[in-house]
Structure formats: C-alpha cells, structure tokens
Symmetry: C2
Subunit: 111 residues, 2 copies
DNA sequence: ACATTATATTGCAATATTACGATGAATAAC
DNA sequence: GTTATTCATCGTAATATTGCAATATAATGT
C-alpha cells in the first residue's frame, strides 16, 4: 500500500525512522555536508553546486527543516541555511543510542 | 519522477543514503532492536512480535540483509537472523563520520 | 510419498517520494 | 512603480515503497 503502519511501533522507533529518512537521499546528504563544511551559513548556492533544479533543492531543504536539523533565515533577497546545533546533537544521540546497544558477542559469528 | 539521480553524487554520499534507507522504517528499526536485545540469534518470532504479515516481515528482513547489516542461517526448518558485527561497526563508522564533521560554532545561533 | 512447518517470492493495489516547469511572494535596485 | 533576483509552492509525471494474499520452496516428521 505504501502507507507505513506507524501505530504498530513505539514513538521512539517512529522518530528514528523519520530522522533516518532525512538522511536517506544523497542530495540531502550533500546539503548537510555542505553546511557542515562551510560552518558559516550558506544559501542556495546549492542549486549550482548540486546538479538539481531549484524547486528540487527547495523541496529537500524543507524536508531537512521539517525534522529540525537545519534552519534558515532571510538575508535580504536570499536565505541563509545552517545546521541547528541543538537538534544536531539530539539526532546524533538518537542514532548513537541504537549503535551503543550492540555488544559484540563472544563468538564472532553468531549464526 | 521518483527516481533519484545517483550519478550526481559521490559514492560515499550514495552509500550513506542507502544505509540510512535501511533505518528509515519503524518495522526495520524494531527488527534491529529485537536482534540487538536478544544477542542470541532469533528467527521469525518477529511475525508475532510486530503486527505485520509474514510476507511483509520477510521483505524488511531482505532489505536489511541487502545492506549487510544482518545475516541469516538456516536452522532446520526455520532461519536464524542476527546482526553482522563487522558490517555493524562499519555502518556505525559511516554515520559517525558525518556526525563528527560538525564543530559547534562560537555563536550558538549561526543564522 | 505425504503432510506439516517456516520462510521466500510473486503479483497487485495504494500511497510516498523524487524531480521539474510554472507560478507566486518578497526584497532590492533603479 | 517597474524590473530583476531569490526562494517557496503548486501541479504533474514517473518511479519507489509498503503491505498483503497467494503461491512457491525447502526441510522435517510420519
């Protein structure tokens, strides 16, 4: 059906899945990396940087903004985007909580 | 179009996006957490555990197997699944490389 | 051989995502 | 006010994902 049965799962599980979705497209990864690299706030040079249409970039930016990982402020006629530090740490923690759950088994091949 | 233009991006970016995709569904998160918790290898008790049809679970398991994060071995008539330790560490590293890229700016609100 | 159990695969319907052109809204420069 | 620039939103087409019933496959027990 294409509809995911969110009600079957915990809020935590849905949250992680939604955050992961933000990372689940190379264009959004590229945008994040670009913002991380140029620590200063960068606007839509992204359109020329990545090879996608302006409307498409805008759509990806919105997806990232929706989960709070980036934020934008109007700067004259253009818009400056940057990482939201608080949310970034939060997201990092959400992922690490899963990764830290794993304890390497005594025998290297469990199956 | 629904087709993602992978050729516009680096292999690293596409890799991360693909791994993130595996985490981008609550059912797959639930499966991973279940395997992490019961460090021993567990087979498809998942069908009764999560509220999804057998075919659907099987499909999610395949998605996780495809990116190498889990592995399964035939155990009589059933199949034991477990985390692949090597790949798990690798995936953890791939995510952390992005998270560690971030250096908190002097001024807390950059935009 | 036959039935049983457990899992995988196939085929399909419904919804989601990706991408882009066209259009709209807001600011700046004249 | 008009024009140019930048970005967001809308509408649309194409592809992907999700979920399940039905069927296939494979091993075990009788």
């Amino acid at each position: 059906m294409g509809v995911t049965k969110s009600d079957l799962f915990s809020e935590e599980q849905n949250d992680l899945a939604n955050v992961a979705k933000a990372f689940a497209h190379p264009a959004r990864i590229a945008i994040i990396q670009y913002l991380l690299k140029s620590n200063a706030c960068i606007n839509g040079h992204l359109v020329s940087e990545l090879g996608l249409a302006q409307a498409t970039i805008s759509q990806h930016l919105r997806a990232l903004k929706d989960i709070g990982i980036i934020q934008g402020t109007i700067e004259g006629v253009s818009v400056s985007y940057c990482i939201n530090p608080q949310r970034w740490e939060e997201v990092k923690k959400i992922f690490n909580q899963v990764f830290e759950l794993y304890k390497a088994p005594g025998n290297i091949d469990c199956c």
